[in-house]
């Protein structure tokens, strides 16, 4: 079958194709592409042929396809200078699989049981510096909370103690380099790429320092860093220090902006929807009080909070482009996508399909979610699903449990002024993201 068997998105420019419009706001471009063309929409990024597929059946086919037919590593080459050569997509497929297994081993549920309490403690320390009432930018506040809680849980308290403002800034430099420009050429002349390389080199120094200190002192803590230090490939080879650093940057990067943007959107939507927020807060009050213990199991008894976060991830999925390079012709939806094309599955579009979600643009945490696992894909699906998905949900739920037990939040600006923005490939809230906060009194419980 030839290319003419499905529509091409309008508005392509000679040479650049749809690059400019895609870059301005990838999520909005992809939604427009779907609405104009339907479940198969072709577009062009600087000469590279992309095919957006939009239906649960297509997602299932894509996420079940083997790596040698649909390659994830090739379209994500732009992550190699972020995580490092020899790591993830910079490693041969055989090694990359073993590295993902090391990541998922380190995130197993038995390791996560103490995390809820650690996170509640970090929230308590952080909000202690807030006034009784006031206004803050919650993009910044939640970025800091996510960084502190992730670092403490995954890298241990020694690493956490060394965490300075510098880390957040370094991760920000990495994020800004993950852009549409990096899809085209991640090694091109670009000030953002130069900052990325400097930031990574500095992170290597900082993280190596912690590894060496742990080795010297013989300290042993049951965290992810330790599990990387002890991990071995199937042939018995241990990770080199450089690989350990790459693994740390990978997991911290993958879970930083994604979780902090989810947390920011969660607090904005809570402030936008006071009736739903009241329900969430009542539920939290029944399992947790400030200063008390927060058990892993308590977080399971928060269905209203969970539904709320799911709805945030539906409307504002942090990653909006999941890509695969077709290595062998791929049959889907009755057509054949030829080798060489890049398939795009977009959670942003998937979560707005009218056949799946009634009144899809309306934020409604009470809605019924589809049974089909391929119809709701904020973390992707299949063998390459985000291995951090359980940690991310635990983290966001624990942060909000500790936060909402202590404070109330309200919008400062008009509700519609808080918008999805995409300065990188990761969706976030617009700036400023101001909210009013007020400490809850005993009488309000």
């Amino acid at each position: 079958m030839n290319a003419a068997s499905w529509p091409v998105v309008s508005g392509a420019k000679p040479g650049a194709g749809h690059y400019e419009e895609f870059t301005r706001h990838p999520a909005r471009f992809l939604l427009r592409a779907y609405r104009e063309c339907g479940e198969i929409a072709e577009f062009d990024l600087g000469g590279a042929r992309h095919v957006l597929l939009s239906s649960p059946a297509a997602y299932e086919a894509v996420f079940r396809a083997p790596d040698d037919q649909l390659s994830a590593s090739e379209p994500y080459r732009f992550m190699v200078p972020v995580f490092g050569e020899g790591i993830q997509f910079g490693a041969p497929l055989e090694l990359e699989r073993q590295q993902v297994k090391m990541q998922s081993n380190a995130l197993r549920v038995d390791r996560m049981k103490g995390y809820a309490q650690v996170i509640a403690g970090e929230v308590e320390d952080w909000v202690a510096r807030w006034e009784d009432a006031g206004e803050r930018d919650f993009y910044d506040e939640l970025k800091e909370l996510v960084l502190r809680t992730s670092t403490h849980c995954l890298m241990g308290s020694d690493f956490r103690a060394k965490l300075t403002d510098e880390f957040g800034a370094l991760y920000q430099d990495l994020e800004h380099a993950v852009s549409a420009a990096s899809i085209v050429d991640p090694y091109g002349q670009d000030a953002a790429f130069a900052r990325r390389d400097r930031a990574r080199a500095r992170l290597v120094d900082l993280i190596s320092g912690v590894i060496h200190e742990r080795r010297r002192s013989g300290a042993h803590s049951p965290d992810m860093l330790q599990s990387f230090m002890e991990a071995a490939y199937l042939d018995g080879r241990r990770l080199t220090d450089d690989e350990i650093v790459g693994m740390v940057i990978w997991i911290m990067f993958a879970g930083f902006h994604t979780s902090s943007n989810t947390a920011t959107w969660t607090i904005v939507e809570l402030a936008r929807h006071p009736e739903h927020a009241a329900r969430v807060v009542r539920e939290i009050d029944s399992v947790y009080a400030p200063g008390g213990a927060l058990a892993h199991t308590a977080l399971r008894e928060l269905p209203a909070l969970e539904r709320f976060v799911f709805e945030v991830l539906r409307i504002h999925p942090p990653l909006v482009t999941l890509m695969r390079l077709v290595k062998r012709d791929f049959d889907v939806l009755g057509r054949t996508i030829p080798a060489g094309a890049v398939i795009v599955a977009s959670p942003y579009v998937a979560h707005r399909l009218p056949d799946v979600y009634a009144d899809a643009e309306r934020f409604d945490p009470e809605r019924t979610f589809p049974e089909n696992v391929f119809a709701y894909i904020p973390f992707g699906a299949g063998r390459r699903k985000c291995v951090g998905n359980a940690f991310a949900l635990l983290q966001v739920k624990a942060i909000f449990t500790a936060l909402l037990a202590r404070h109330r939040f309200a919008l400062v600006d008009p509700p519609e002024s808080y918008q999805d923005e995409m300065p990188s490939l990761i969706l976030r809230t617009s700036e400023p993201c101001r909210l009013r906060f007020e400490r809850r009194t005993a009488a309000q419980r």
């Binding site: 699989r97 073993q98 297994k101 995130l107 197993r108 399971r300 696992v373 063998r383 699903k385 359980a390």
Partner: protein, 71 residues
């Protein structure tokens, strides 16, 4: 009416939540060149494990497990 458990191996990433919920039924094992994945220690599981297995199905972060009723 009896029942058994189906594991979707294209969805399982070995998070081991099932093993935590129902340690007598599930065991996450490593396989050469692949993710660790869950497996069944008892297939079909004994009836008295039904409640634990239901919890495992419910809390699986990848929704890789399914209870199938068999005639």
């Amino acid at each position: 009416m009896s029942w058994r458990v189906e594991i979707d191996r294209e969805l399982c990433q070995g998070h081991a939540v099932c093993m935590d919920e129902a340690p007598e039924v599930f065991l996450v094992i490593e396989r050469a060149g692949d993710y660790a994945q869950t497996s069944l220690l008892a297939d079909p599981p004994p009836d008295e494990q039904r409640e634990r297995v239901e919890a495992a199905v419910k809390h699986c972060p990848n929704r890789a497990l399914k209870i199938v009723e068999t005639p």
